[in-house]
Subunit: 158 residues, 2 copies
């Protein structure tokens, strides 16, 4: 092979490798619709577990059930839900059309809101272990306050 031909072959092979790599990365990265479905699912799991704690406080209290629920909420708060708000997920459909406001992706208050939820959720998991219903009730209200605050700022009403 002469030198210019070698260079062309080499360049084509390099481009081919780059394209294959880009394709592999694109295949691995979850699609926006998948990310939206996952975050909608995560909030459902949170609703299940806050509801469980409330049912325990309003009705028959089972300490172990409250601990399990609080640990699940804390694990999700600590899981890095922010990754499910990757660029490209500002609009689109998961289980249903996303209700996120565009501000979530630009307003630094969103990070603060996530941090508040994280802090209060971990505290809920801590006090669940102690089993004082008044303390658990007050802490659940704090967690739900961080949910509401974020919904007020970053979730569309429609």
């Amino acid at each position: 092979m002469n030198k210019p031909l070698k260079l062309i072959v080499s360049a084509v092979l390099t481009l081919g490798t780059l394209a294959a790599t880009a394709t592999a990365i694109a295949q691995q990265a979850p699609k926006p619709e998948q990310l939206i479905k996952w975050r909608q699912s995560a909030y459902q799991v949170l609703a299940w577990n806050t509801g469980r704690i409330k049912a325990n406080l309003d009705g028959q209290y089972n300490k172990d059930d409250v601990i399990k629920a609080a640990n699940t909420i804390a694990a999700l708060a600590n899981s890095g839900l922010g990754a499910l708000y990757a660029p490209g997920t500002e609009t689109g459909k998961g289980w249903h059309e996303t209700t996120v406001k565009p501000e979530l992706f630009t307003d630094k208050k969103a990070g603060e809101a996530a941090g508040n939820f994280n802090k209060e959720a971990n505290e809920l998991a801590r006090v669940a272990q102690l089993g004082d219903l008044t303390v658990i009730k007050a802490q659940l209200a704090k967690v739900q306050g961080t949910c509401k605050s974020c919904h007020d700022d970053f979730r569309r009403k429609d």
Copy 2:
């Protein structure tokens, strides 16, 4: 008030209290569709997190990310997902029509399958902390084996 009248009034009041209590319980208990939606959501959250660990093992490894994902899987495994298979949820629609087989509600293998998932998920959370990729990979495969086994036995193919 004479005695027969007293008895009637007392009986009516008792029935009224019972009816009010029954209504309150019915209002508190989540509907079957809600339970099905929650369990479908929980499996999505599990898929997100097993996928995250796989992506970390196949690509750029981030120990903290794997720990978060493994802790979320373990918390869900420990959360008491069985409660989402309450009587009345054998059929019905959450996000979509349930794909559960009737056997799940009668076969004691279902409880064993849940126990296996629980055990392997907690072990995954433990080894994620150690950061040995070979061990994490082997343990993730064990967790996914318990998923597959349960799907084979208790999830419809359609």
